[in-house]
């Protein structure tokens, strides 16, 4: 037994007596052979196991299955010569044999497709309703915190401001700086063809201040913070900490959601402003190196050519994006069930949903400002 050898099964078919003699091993390793042999052999009314050395549950299950199937066709198959262990195994397996229930009816493909689409649409609508409800809860608790400042946790707010805002400064600044560099570089190559290099300043200023600064900051924050919110709240939900809070008379919305979303609401405009400055700096640097537009000239051109409206249009979007990211993240955290798999799934869902929602909101803002003519 020490060296692994291939298990062998030998089957002799005595067609005159209708006997099938098995010797060797009838186990999970050889049962497929036995099945093929049975398909070819007809009219068997006795299976002889006298020389069978080993029988396992797979083999026993197979033998009983053969017996049951032939019985259903009005033929009796006798299993004989089994050793005591094999007999007791056959008995055990027979008593445990599951009684299969009817297979569930599968619907045709088109129906399933229709059903799934319907479910997805309904799910999407319900998700939006749930998010709106969540926003309502947040606003209600925020108003309550204003009326009863004692219930509000300032320490928690400061902690989250640091997590969400301060810690995000390096990555946001670097990202915006690089965007400025890229814009200046791409813009200059195109504008040089028309001899209009100096308009690169307007290009950088308008695109960074109006759109890219805040949008890309929001996307980075959505990836960084929405996932962190979901993971933190979700793991608390998983370990029943949220339920523990409720039984202790603490309101999870007040303790967990308000400080987080409020911190995001305060910090995102600041991060957006940092991104704006850093983007302009990157653009100015590249314009100087690549086009020879001196920093003074860049500044003069920036002040004269770009209205402060652009900054306002950019930054006014920040609180809305912050609300979206915060609400999506916290809501996803509360959807986590008691298994680790759902935590991972909800975290990645939160990031995708937050980024998507931010971009949709940005598009709506664009249309809104365009129709107002700002």
């Amino acid at each position: 037994m020490t060296t692994p050898q291939r298990p062998r099964l030998e089957i002799e078919h005595d067609s005159a007596a209708g006997t099938l003699r098995m010797s060797g091993e009838l186990s999970i390793y050889t049962v497929t052979e036995a099945k093929t042999a049975f398909k070819n052999a007809r009219e068997i009314d006795k299976i002889d196991l006298q020389t069978l050395n080993r029988l396992d549950t797979a083999g026993a299950c197979f033998l009983l299955d053969v017996q049951a199937k032939s019985e259903a066709q009005g033929q009796r198959v006798e299993i004989s010569g089994a050793k005591p262990e094999a007999t007791s195994l056959l008995k055990t397996v027979k008593s445990a044999l599951p009684q299969p229930t009817a297979a569930p009816i599968t619907k045709p493909f088109f129906n399933r497709f229709l059903e799934r689409t319907g479910r997805d649409v309904a799910g999407g609508v319900l998700y939006l309703i749930a998010l709106t409800g969540f926003l309502g809860i947040f606003l209600h608790r925020l108003a309550r915190a204003l009326c009863h400042p004692k219930e509000f946790r300032v320490t928690s707010l400061v902690h989250h401001c640091e997590e969400v805002g301060l810690r995000a400064v390096p990555i946001v600044a670097l990202m915006a700086f690089l965007i400025g560099v890229v814009l200046a570089f791409q813009g200059s190559t195109q504008l040089r063809q028309f001899g209009a290099e100096v308009f690169v300043v307007d290009l950088i200023a308008i695109s960074v201040l109006r759109e890219l600064g805040i949008l890309l900051t929001s996307i980075i924050v959505a990836g960084r913070t929405a996932s962190a919110f979901t993971a933190a709240i979700g793991s608390m939900k998983m370990r029943e900490e949220i339920d523990a809070m409720r039984t202790l008379g603490l309101d999870p919305a007040m303790v967990l959601f308000v400080p987080r979303i409020l911190a995001l609401l305060l910090m995102l405009p600041i991060l957006g402003l940092i991104a704006d400055v850093s983007g302009l700096f990157g653009g100015a640097l590249m314009a100087w190196i690549d086009l020879g537009i001196s920093p003074e000239m860049f500044a003069t051109r920036l002040v004269s050519g770009t209205s402060v409206n652009h900054v306002m249009v950019g930054l006014i979007k920040a609180p809305f994006f912050a609300l979206i990211i915060g609400v999506v993240g916290c809501h996803a955290g509360m959807q986590v069930e008691s298994n680790a798999e759902s935590l991972g799934r909800m975290t990645s869902n939160a990031v995708v949903a937050a980024i998507f929602a931010v971009i949709v909101a940005d598009a709506i803002f664009s249309i809104f400002f365009a129709s107002l003519g700002i």
């Binding site: 390793y29 049962v31 549950t57 050793k83 195994l89 055990t92 298994n339 798999e341």
Partner: protein, 272 residues
């Protein structure tokens, strides 16, 4: 298998040493497990019961010593030998450790996928049989592990461990976290399966009722080694302080009383 002598040793651990940093868990640990028996490993928290189990099945590389299972040196076997050996034992982890992305039936089929050329219908049938054998309802096969209760997950884990009709099953805390009714049902299941399939069972437990109800022999881990092995009766006579406390404490007394009561009751019924 039947021609082997009743007490041939199929797991033998010699001089096992496990060390994590400066913390020595096992030192000069010896243990023998005989074919067909149910052995229970007990010990206080942190005495390395699970580490011992993991060392035997090769999940944890010991610092020193030898582990011999079914005549194969586990620690120095090559990959093919190990793979062949792994088909001859099954492990049930504490919470079942089922693959969460697969249904229970697919979980039970996983070990059988390694059998070359196995007919898919037979595979499915055998998986259903194993699910039924561990006492799960027929429709449990289509469920995902997250939809099952803790006790059902353990049963499903056992079904997966039994998929290839192993000679040895290792059970890590089989009754932890089960209600008393579920726990005694699981105890009965272990005994029944071990008898009917000729299994050798190595179980790590804290549960005194399980020890009373199932184990042929008990091994006590203390002072970094297997302090004593023997039947329940022999354990009661050991005068090591921890062992004495363990087997004579209030919970132990309750468990042994429970055992006595059931014996008397069944004896009475037989008499009538």
């Amino acid at each position: 298998m039947s021609d082997k002598v009743a007490n041939d040793v199929i797991i033998s651990v010699r001089n096992l040493r496990n060390q994590f940093g400066s913390h020595i868990v096992h030192d000069e640990l010896d243990l023998d497990v005989r074919r067909g028996e149910i052995i229970g490993v007990v010990g206080g928290s942190g005495t390395g019961k699970s580490v011992l189990l993991r060392s035997i099945v090769g999940l944890q590389k010991p610092t020193g010593g030898t582990v011999n299972v079914l005549g194969i040196d586990v620690l120095n076997a090559n990959e093919d030998t190990r793979a062949a050996l792994e088909a001859r034992w099954g492990v049930m982890f504490q919470d079942g450790a089922l693959f969460s992305s697969l249904t229970v039936r697919e979980n039970v089929e996983v070990p059988m996928l390694a059998v070359k050329g196995l007919d898919p219908d037979i595979r499915r049938q055998v998986a259903d049989l194993k699910i039924a054998m561990v006492g799960l309802p027929y429709n449990a096969g289509d469920k995902y592990p997250s939809e099952l209760s803790g006790g059902m997950r353990k049963r499903a884990g056992l079904a997966r461990a039994l998929a290839l009709d192993p000679e040895i099953v290792f059970l890590d805390e089989p009754t932890a976290g089960l209600d008393p009714i579920g726990a005694s049902a699981f105890d009965a299941l272990i005994v029944e399966l071990s008898r009917s399939l000729g299994l050798t069972v190595f179980l790590v437990t804290h549960d005194l009722d399980t020890l009373h109800a199932t184990c042929d022999r008990i091994a006590v881990l203390a002072e970094r080694k297997v302090l004593v092995t023997g039947t329940m009766q022999e354990m009661l006579d050991v005068d090591h302080p921890w062992v004495h406390e363990y087997f004579h404490g209030p919970r132990a007394r309750a468990a042994s009383d429970g055992k006595q009561n059931t014996k008397n009751k069944s004896g009475g019924e037989n008499g009538n």
